[in-house]
Symmetry: C2
Subunit: 83 residues, 2 copies
């Protein structure tokens, strides 16, 4: 079966996010001071071939740990959809 | 009311995504050849103060158009949650 994974990789909440801070500042200059606390991470989509949803979950988790997220500075979460 | 927006900004499907292509290649080297078609974009979270959900939607849409997404190369979608 083919699954589609939607993965979010975000900077840990305890860490500063300088890119997000810069964008929060720009919002004010653009006339959108209502917008606060911008945080910027990665959104990753991928396709995976696996026998079961559980097997796909294990593989995607492995991909996140090995390559997609740096767990010292980031956390990840994902959802799997049957394609 | 305070809302939280979860925004995804992704490269347009018609465009090549060289970063995603590189990661797809690396998956094979990591022993995960089941993973294909990786595409990498941005995930942005922010907080917004607005009277209604409709007003918040308009503001977040404006922020995406003006600053967060480059509509020539990217598309965006978002969801709003009441905080």
């Amino acid at each position: 079966m083919k699954f589609r994974a939607e993965i979010d990789v975000m900077p840990l909440k305890a860490l500063l996010d300088p890119q997000g801070k810069a964008v929060t500042g720009s919002m004010k200059n653009l006339g959108l001071p209502e917008i606060q606390n911008v945080r910027i991470g990665k959104h990753i989509t991928l396709e995976i071939e696996a026998d079961t949803k559980d097997a796909a979950t294990t593989k995607v988790d492995e991909a996140c740990k090995k390559l997609l997220a740096n767990q010292i500075m980031e956390f990840y979460e994902f959802e799997l959809f049957e394609n």
